[in-house]
Point group: C4
Chain length 381, copies 4
């Protein structure tokens, strides 16, 4: 490992009123190149910006007199009772945000009690993360090797940890044009032990190099192979259209993960939340749907659930919470979104997550011309 | 009561050309925390900003050669002749804006002659407000207690005052995420005598605490209870959809109050004016409709009336007028909106409020990309 | 007359590349209050701004290989051969912009050869204006008196001048809320000789006073009265809807003038160009249509003609040209718009104004989010 | 030739991460007037700005698990194997950007291997450009003379060079109102040898003069004449509607070139990319379609191809690359767009350009309110 130095903070984070607050805090304690890598998007950042903005395309019309009190955010998923449908997205390299990396975030996810998705590009190896989770459900996000022998080896290790599902990332067979990284001359400062068989000495490599080390030529056959070799449910991460849903389900996918990789891959594509509407219709409740990309508010979680998501994953906010407050900080992020979700549920007249999933949003025919969160337009006093 | 010090102004307010002018004047004389509480909205303030902006979704196409002169804004409502359909919304804690609080605003409403809605969180008790009104019609806005004994006691007192209607607020069973208050560490500096049975020592409490002291689990049964116990007409304040209208009317509501609480409760919901269109269609003239949220102009009043409202309530502008000019200032606010309304009526070709209510607005298919009032875009010379 | 001092410029204007350039030039030579009166709009200036912006709602798709060369902007109207369909709108009080007032602008309209509309609030009396026009067609814009005797007297004088049509303004029975004037404490510094019978000593009066001196209670009967007493064609200035067209034509109008008074009267109403589409459909070529409000470009003239206008009137640009360059300046304004119109005609593939009127515009389903002319967004180098 | 001095740079260009980066670099090395001429647009620059912005009207929904690796951007066109469908648009006067002018850009197009379109207003004569191309396919863009004898002479010379197609520009029979040039008092500093028979001593002339020296009265007959006299395929450059497509094809056009001249001609018209949708439907694969105007990204190339273009031409970026890096710089521009296109093809799940052309884009019902590239809104770190 390199001599990369980043935050070693441990919370509680002060002056934290919403998860947007965390970005500037994190920027102060994460080195510039690493922060740019985490925060930035691809190309013109159109898709990055549309991700948050798109939540305004659907409106929550409150229902009143609904006999609601202390709404319950908890769900049962795949046999586990979770605090809420908010889970951890597979974010690479938590050590960019905190010296202890994935161990801290896993401890926090345990504290909160939801699903942890470990990235192939985790900067901590599988066993210590599983250990930190202490039985909290864990999924594995797979950046597939070109060598099936290596893939089998990785899956063998994954199964040893008792991991419950495999998430195959399909939208990143090459890196998007993340020009912030290029301008910063950014190279990965930390190695990635899980994939060291096909990506040895990951530290010092560009993201382009990292992506190209993985397999480009993904096909339905890879889904079948993972499903049959691992015996685990496979979530295909990437479909944003009905076609892709069918291709994935035909190949044996057990779930669909709607995302645009946080606006980091294909710029000029739709906001993930806009795609969720079409995907949910295509899936038609045959398998679970996970959603990520742009979630910064309890109301975003609510809208995603009401649009067909079963689980809602967060990424950057967790990295920022990790940088600003370590284990405690990550827990605060989940708690903040949960308390916002509870408030929205109460005001919308929904007692349970099942009620939220049945809630009908109203289309917004007007384009608000500003994002959901626009500090310049925000009316603060 | 705390040693909270705020404005003791008494008008007339100078340099007052529209009600927007009052906000910065008020900001100068109200302490920061209290001003933030009055002015700010929930979450990303999306809904707060859309409230004003949404009036541009409908356009007034003038009718010419309509034989109109000196248009008449007056209406008769529930047996009372009122100067106009513009009435006072139930705003909490007028003492935040002026040392004499609700007494001054009640005097002004008497001077103007319209309906005064006293809030449960009034900082002046019921009798002095009723006294200041000198027979001007008064409604009571109810934050419901968890204890029906207390509710009965409050209703007994309300009836003693000769109050003519009860307004049940249903969109605020918990507080919205008003982050300005959180950032300011704001606590209520003044007590609320009407609800002291269930909220003793309100001064020093956060708004969250205040809201949680009231009943969360509101249901149609509560509407029935108020109607039957009080014998007064009950306005349900909160419905923004046809479903909620039906639920409220089935429970015995005598009127529907369309609002989103001035953008202070559920952010990510629709502008109240946009909801008014749907509510009016659902109500279909069975009961009166009151509208508030975002009204800053005579043309807004006109558009709300033409969209189905029978009464149009204002809140923040009154608080600002109270801070900037006391009794006189509040009267000036009503007079300003009334003279603007008269001008709009004349130019639109409508002689009476009945004409306004029959006026057909034109849909605006274009989103103007700026609010109705945008100081930066405004062409002043 | 007061001792009001304004521009006495005589052109040619330098550094004049489009008519927008003239506004800041005029602002330098016209006193603040008078300039504010000319330039500003009503209320939130929403309608003022939409006037220019709305031209982007329709697009000119060029037609190529159309065998066009030296396109001909001239038209014949009511027996007169005019240089183009661009004519002068009735603007009050040209002496606000130039010491010689309407005399200079009439000379320029003669030089250019189009229709001059004299305002009832002209600061020069009828005879010298007619004289300056030297036979160029002249129309009279009528602010109607409450006293029909006075109206008859004015019409007698109008007919003496050989004026060819009367334009009855119906959208200004009271003044719009022009807050710039209110903030500037603006009073009219110059008297208005044509209406001195009902508005003596106009100098020193507010616009509100001026408007209220005229008749509010306009009706179809007034159109009939003017038509029958004067025997002249009557253009009703104000209709923006099919209803108003029918009411006007039923009363004997010989033409419809689509306008929103340059955004100076009813704020919150539609852009005049948007209304033109509906009016043209309703008129269906039964009578001529004049259009004004927001015209600043040759392409605007083209779009108005292609949307059904027969004549396109300009106001503020003429006042700015008058202030910046007197008779020569006003002529330059007409010439600039004409040369722009010629260029657009050539590129659009239209040889004659008749071709332009048959040209089909393309709807723009996208709202550009910026006005046709946005100095901040403009790409200049 | 005048003593005009401009860039003599030879690359490689440093700190070049996307083609937008080149504009400010070029601005530093090209004299102000010439840079303004290259960069600016007509009128209010509405159409100029919409050109880039309009690519957001269609979205690329990625297709995953498509078995794609190392996508192939090459195409065969008219018997030539090209590196990609990205070709050079006919840009006038490359010597404005670099002292060696078209020679350098032709060498770069040879290095890259695509189609070079030489402008009638080339500042280098035909033979040296053809020589620099060394057999790389060359097209000739024709500004038609009023004198058919001259036109025959030009075509004779064109055929001598072995040029493969003639492009007749039809959207520039007069110059657009390029006010930047007018404000800069810009005159062409360099002569144009190809058209010296009808435009001798071009140096020192305004663009208006240049355009007016060519033929205005273009008609289908001119297309027929070029086709029959030259025996070469004729591309009509200018159609943006179905009508114009039919008129061109009826006259014998062998291809349609969709453009709005980079927003330099008719302001107030549609974005070229928006017109491409209608043109492609009208052409219905009968002849090839070339597209230009606003292409700055690999995703723009992808979207144009998926909307019916067979070739996508670039102009300003080449001029900027030429100014910033000469032959190497121009090659870098083509390489950058190609590598972006490859990335988009990989992420979209398209192996070949044929796949791209069959790709279905998703309509974007929301207007993003900002251009594809908005430096102010861009999230860089």
């Amino acid at each position: 490992m390199s001599d990369f130095i980043t935050s070693n903070a441990e919370g509680p984070i002060e002056n934290f009123f919403n998860v947007y607050d965390l970005e500037p805090m994190a920027q102060k304690v994460i080195p510039k190149g690493a922060f740019g890598y985490i925060a930035s998007g691809a190309g013109d950042t159109f898709t990055l910006r549309e991700n948050i903005r798109s939540f305004d395309h659907k409106l929550i019309v409150p229902h009143v007199l609904m006999n609601v009190e202390n709404p319950d955010t908890s769900i049962e998923f795949d046999g586990d009772k979770l605090t809420s449908p908010i889970m951890l997205a597979p974010v690479a390299a938590h050590k960019l945000a905190h010296v202890d990396g994935e161990v801290k975030s896993a401890q926090a996810v345990h504290d909160y009690n939801t699903i942890y998705t470990i990235s192939s590009y985790s900067t901590v190896d599988l066993p210590p993360v599983t250990e930190a989770l202490q039985g909290t459900p864990e999924w594995f996000q797979f950046y597939f090797s070109k060598d099936d022998g290596i893939n089998r080896h990785i899956m063998d290790r994954v199964k040893e940890q008792g991991i419950k599902a495999i998430v195959l990332t399909t939208d990143a067979t090459v890196g998007g044009n993340r020009e912030t990284d290029a301008r910063n001359g950014y190279v990965f400062p930390v190695g990635m032990p899980i994939v060291e068989d096909y990506l040895p000495n990951g530290a010092g490599k560009t993201m382009d190099f990292v992506y190209k080390s993985a397999k480009q030529k993904l096909s339905p056959r890879d889904v079948e192979f993972i499903a049959s070799y691992s015996g685990l449910p496979v979530y295909v991460k990437g479909p944003q259209s009905a076609d892709d849903v069918e291709r994935s389900l035909d190949a044996g996918a057990s779930g669909i993960w709607v995302t645009n990789h946080g606006g980091r891959q294909l710029d000029g594509g739709p906001a993930a939340f806009d795609s969720l509407q079409e995907v949910a219709k295509a899936v038609n409740k045959r398998v679970p749907i996970v959603f990520d990309s742009g979630v910064r508010r309890g109301q975003h979680v609510f809208k995603a659930l009401a649009s067909g998501a079963d689980l809602v994953a967060i990424g950057r906010p967790v990295m920022y919470g990790l940088a600003a407050g370590g284990r405690t900080g990550v827990k605060q992020v989940f708690d903040k979104l949960t308390s916002e979700l509870e408030m929205v549920m109460q005001l919308a007249g929904t007692q349970t997550i099942a009620d939220v999933k049945n809630f009908e949003l109203r289309d917004n025919p007007y384009d608000p011309g500003f994002g959901s969160y626009n500090p310049d337009a925000l009316q603060l006093y």
